[in-house]
């Protein structure tokens, strides 16, 4: 059973990474206990409206894509969880004006989640996370893009056991900042910022047989945007 789950988790991680696209990325989840370490992969669907900050004529201002990345989360104390994410790979998808047919993709990010209070089995946590990613266009279009996102959120978390497996529910308001720079030729980048940054998120995390974590979340920031992932808890 354990071997089968391990194979499924690995296959799911590979499948998620195979969906790699462009980036708006954050790693948010339930607070981990002191010394816990998770390594996993996440697939996120992103749908945001952007406005150009540079005063340039508006282009297609809807960003609609999916992205994937590898992440780790670790409980550095019983009240603080650090997270990081990184990925390098190839990407093809982009629905902005110019299509990146063949681009190299780089992503790095880090965050912190900390306990604010605990009351009657509920935990209230505060999380911040920042991510930067770059699409390096390898075609003669050389339309390169850099994405920067930052999130601040306050979450209420509830943990319980169901059929011997641990379930975590979380929900709360959040602020989702997203910025995009498009580099064309040798001019200054065209900057765009996502509108409707205020929203919220809700999610469920199931930790199966102590080590195997499956999670799903919905983020609302202008639109509902789902995200899924798997991880291994050491």
């Amino acid at each position: 059973m354990v071997t089968r789950l391990r194979i499924i988790a690995l296959a799911a991680a590979v499948a998620l990474l195979g969906q790699l696209g462009t980036a708006n990325a954050e790693v948010i989840g339930p607070l981990l206990k002191d010394g816990a370490f998770e390594l996993g992969a996440q697939l996120r669907y992103v749908h945001r409206d952007y406005k150009e900050a540079s005063g340039s004529p508006p282009q297609n201002n809807v960003f609609d894509d999916a992205d994937g990345m590898l992440f780790f989360r670790c409980g550095v104390t019983s009240t603080a969880t650090l997270s990081g994410e990184a990925l390098v790979g190839n990407t093809k998808a982009s629905d902005w004006e110019h299509d990146c047919g063949d681009a190299r993709y780089y992503l790095v990010g880090a965050g912190l989640q900390a306990l604010l209070s605990e009351f009657r089995g509920f935990m209230c946590t505060f999380g911040i996370h920042g991510t930067a990613s770059f699409e390096f266009d390898r075609t003669e279009n050389h339309v390169d893009r850099e994405y920067q996102t930052a999130i601040g959120t306050i979450l209420v978390e509830k943990r319980f056991t169901l059929y011997g497996q641990r379930i975590d529910l979380l929900a709360g308001p959040s602020y989702w900042y997203a910025n995009e720079k498009e580099f064309r030729d040798w001019s200054f980048p065209v900057r765009s910022t996502a509108v409707d940054p205020w929203g919220g998120m809700a999610g469920i995390t199931a930790t199966l047989y102590t080590h195997y974590t499956v999670f799903g979340q919905v983020v609302y920031a202008g639109y509902f945007q789902p995200r899924f992932g798997v991880s291994y808890s050491f």
Binding site: D34, G35, F37, L39, L70, F72, C74, V76, L82, G84, E85, A86, L87, V88, R104, Y106, L107, V108, G109, A110, A132, F134, F136, D137, R138, T139, E140, H142, D144, E146, D185, W186, F234
Partner: protein, 228 residues
């Protein structure tokens, strides 16, 4: 004149290969976690383009975790705005991404033997008009012998062994993407030797030298969380 200028520019573009980075160290005990920062000096002979001798520096944040008593996983990443003396007035946006694994193979008479592998990739994106973008790939493979001693509850570790160190780079100029100057390290075989300390169970300063063509130093500092 224009040809000469282009040649000079492209030679300049190839004189700095960008960056590569590795996180190498002894295998950690089970459930031990290290979060740290490392700074690396590089000095390689790269071919076929001139100049052959190139040097560069890289900094990155890293995490290392002892998944089992024999397996250590590592990830590294960094995001910086960097400048270089060879390119006054230019500013590069640098993305550093990497990951690796260390596996304890056996332990004999207090000396641990492990194998390691680490891959990394760096993009130096030139934000200035010449658009001298640089990409680098690096691979480190090797075997380490690890020995440690404890003195007044502080731990000192010494480790070293043969290593295969491959660096490849692509240098772009003037935003031309279908052609790039590609270089590869001339000598891959060398060795790595290092020392690290675990102070009060929490603070891990480290230093190591990678020899491949030249001696290349790396220093780092990390925080450690360990159930031991």
């Amino acid at each position: 004149m224009k040809k000469a200028l282009t040649l000079v520019v492209l030679l300049l573009a190839t004189s700095w290969v960008g960056a590569s980075a590795q996180v190498i160290g002894p295998v950690l005990s089970k459930s031990s976690l290290e979060l740290g920062y490392i700074y690396k000096w590089y000095h390689r002979d790269m071919e076929p383009n001139t100049p052959v001798e190139k040097d560069w520096e890289v900094a990155s944040f890293f995490v290392r975790y002892g998944g089992t008593s024999r397996l250590t996983l590592s990830l590294e990443g960094g995001l910086w705005n960097v400048e270089h003396d060879d390119f006054p007035g230019m500013e590069f946006r640098r993305y550093t991404v990497g990951g690796g694994v260390g596996i304890r193979v056996l332990e004999v008479a207090g000396i641990g033997f492990s194998a390691f592998g680490h891959y990394n990739e760096v993009l130096d994106y030139d934000l200035s008009p010449p658009a001298f973008h640089k990409q680098t790939w690096g691979l480190n493979l090797g075997v380490l012998a690890e020995w440690s001693m404890t003195w007044k509850e502080q731990v000192l570790g010494i480790w070293g062994g043969p290593a295969y160190t491959l660096d490849e780079s692509k240098n772009h100029a003037w935003n031309v993407r279908t052609f790039a100057y590609e270089d590869e390290s001339a000598t891959e075989l060398g060795f790595v030797v290092g020392v690290n300390a675990v102070l009060w169970g929490r603070i891990v300063p480290s230093a190591h030298v990678v020899y491949a063509d030249y001696f290349q130093g790396r220093i780092g500092i990390a925080g450690r969380w360990s159930p031991d």
